[in-house]
Symmetry: none
Subunit: 190 residues, 4 copies
DNA sequence: CATGAATGAGATTTCATTCAT
DNA sequence: GATGAATGAAATCTCATTCAT
């Protein structure tokens, strides 16, 4: 049973660093200290292993999203929480979130693949969350009256960019979370 | 000669959509309407073809970066120009810039690969451009006195996110360029 | 103990329907409701299991052959009995006799394999039985003076064909036994 | 191009002797004097190669069936011709017809497989041919008034048995064709 | 320039079998 | 008796690349 977890951990690491197609089952097996057929004993195939990882990653991700506080004193706190959540997640589990946010596009060709579906769900969720936030913030005169759709897109892009950047360890500055939150605050809050 | 361009165009499209490892030479040949050996007549191999595309993409990219106006009335205009440039580039050549910004990480393992080098160069360039901008803006009291390094990182992440988002055609809103520029302006400019 | 029989029954069914090479030990185990190692507890291996089945099938088959009545009023009755026996056997145990008569030829390559030996023995037995029958029938003027060897071959082919046809459930007409016996009678008996 | 034929010929031989599952692509390649990937260059896979062989075998087979003379002086000649045709075919192309008549039952599980379809077609064709023959022969008082369906079944079984027997080289007597034809004639013709 | 045929190396997967419990 | 986990060996298949023409 420890070996199964080994496989999962190794695969997560390798997939996120080399992409799905760039990682071989032999490589996974070797680095996990098992033989190749064991992968096929625990999973139906390379694809199934990948799917398992993605599903698990998204499961944790959505759990965290769902447990964001719904009651806040200001609307901006909601955005602040969301940004902080992503910074935290990418610190805790850089490989998983990196995979989740940017699985090698090959997988995205098949719209019915778990990957595509989860990504779509994520996009929907974040879109809805941010839209509501912005609309309420504008209505209550807390925010500038920005264009909602476009601002949602840009905040999404910002989060996406941060996750990729940090998932790839291209940037490891400690203070970025704070800076980012203040940056957005100055822009949105009156 | 038209065939060579066909190969390049097809390969660019496929690499950006399926990743380097997820694209086969046969697929490129078929979609380009040629036979596989022709690829080897024009290029030394799959890797060489990829490198050619990346180099070309970055060449154009750097040319555009280099031709950004150096004399501007405000410091913010510099940032505005940079953001606009990326929006324009991703509209003109979505596949190329997408590739340039996010080549399947497998290629990045080899630090001496063209890909890694160009990406590094790009990061340096943008870093320097943005740092200078911010420092001067702060010095001249045009900008809030933000933390420079962190803000550079976040602007880089924002651009990266935008390019990925639009390169993957996940978002095609027309007004985002403007919204993004205003968003950053409100945040930076006093 | 019931499990051992389960294994045997399932294997018999699967081998006869999919051939030896087309059947996996996992499939046998699953359909028999046991785990793979149990097969190895009861048998030395897949080959041994197969051999066991074949030997058992042939044992019953030869017992039936041996108990054919030796004293008959006419010589044709002997042939009649033989044909009827095969019709009965294939009705009672379609899988076993089908296997016995047509084990995937792969097994026949090895002339020393149980399979080859039993089949050879069967051919000898039937050949001898039919030859004697025909010769006596001809000598006693009961039969037309047909070519013995060739007629033996054709009767053997007929029985083989019937067993295969019915073993595969391609034909399930009730009256075929009778029709076949009459067909041969008209042809042989003066 | 000669190599492609080599592959086909070798595969035909091996499949008929060892069954589909008992034959490996490596074995085919080696005996055909080519490398394994060449099989995959010319065919989509092992299954496709097999299908190609079956289709080709049946093509020739049906061509011969179709060119059986339709005008005959007696009805029995029709049956005579059919039996002779099978003896001739099995002499000309023992492997192909053996395969066609008895492809390892594994393939027959899938009712939509070419194999199953062709076999069904063959059964239909022979059934129709023999039925008509018998009915006309009985109507014109040339034949005994046998049970048509059952007799068709038995003649089919006889042909099947002969093809298997001779395809497996279990019997190579020269005179069997004649003997078989006379055997059936005595039984059917008044 | 261009291609049909071919291949070496290796990837994914299967499978009979065994081991530890 | 019985099983979950594991494996060595091998089978099917893929793919970048080359050769002969």
């Amino acid at each position: 049973m420890k070996k199964k977890q080994n496989i999962i951990d190794t695969a997560t690491k390798l997939f996120s660093r080399q992409g799905f197609d760039g990682t071989t089952t032999l490589q996974i097996a070797r680095e996990a200290g098992v033989t190749e057929p064991l992968i096929y004993y625990h999973f139906e195939g390379k694809d199934d292993l990948f799917t398992h990882i993605i599903e698990n990653g998204f499961k944790t991700y959505f759990e965290r999203l769902e447990s964001l506080p719904t009651e806040t004193t200001t609307h901006y706190e909601k955005i602040e929480n969301l940004v902080a959540l992503h910074f935290k997640f990418v610190r805790d589990r850089p490989d998983e979130i990196y995979l989740a946010f940017s699985t090698c596009p090959a997988k995205l060709k098949d719209k019915s693949h778990v990957c595509s579906k989860k990504l779509e769900k994520q996009r929907q969720w974040l879109g809805a969350y941010l839209s509501t936030c912005l609309e309420n913030g504008i209505a209550s005169n807390e925010f500038h009256s920005v264009q909602v759709k476009e601002t949602v897109g840009l905040l999404y892009a910002l989060i996406l960019g941060i996750v990729r950047q940090r998932g790839l360890h291209l940037n490891t500055l400690k203070g970025m979370s704070r800076t980012t939150i203040e940056f957005c605050r100055r822009s949105l809050v009156k």
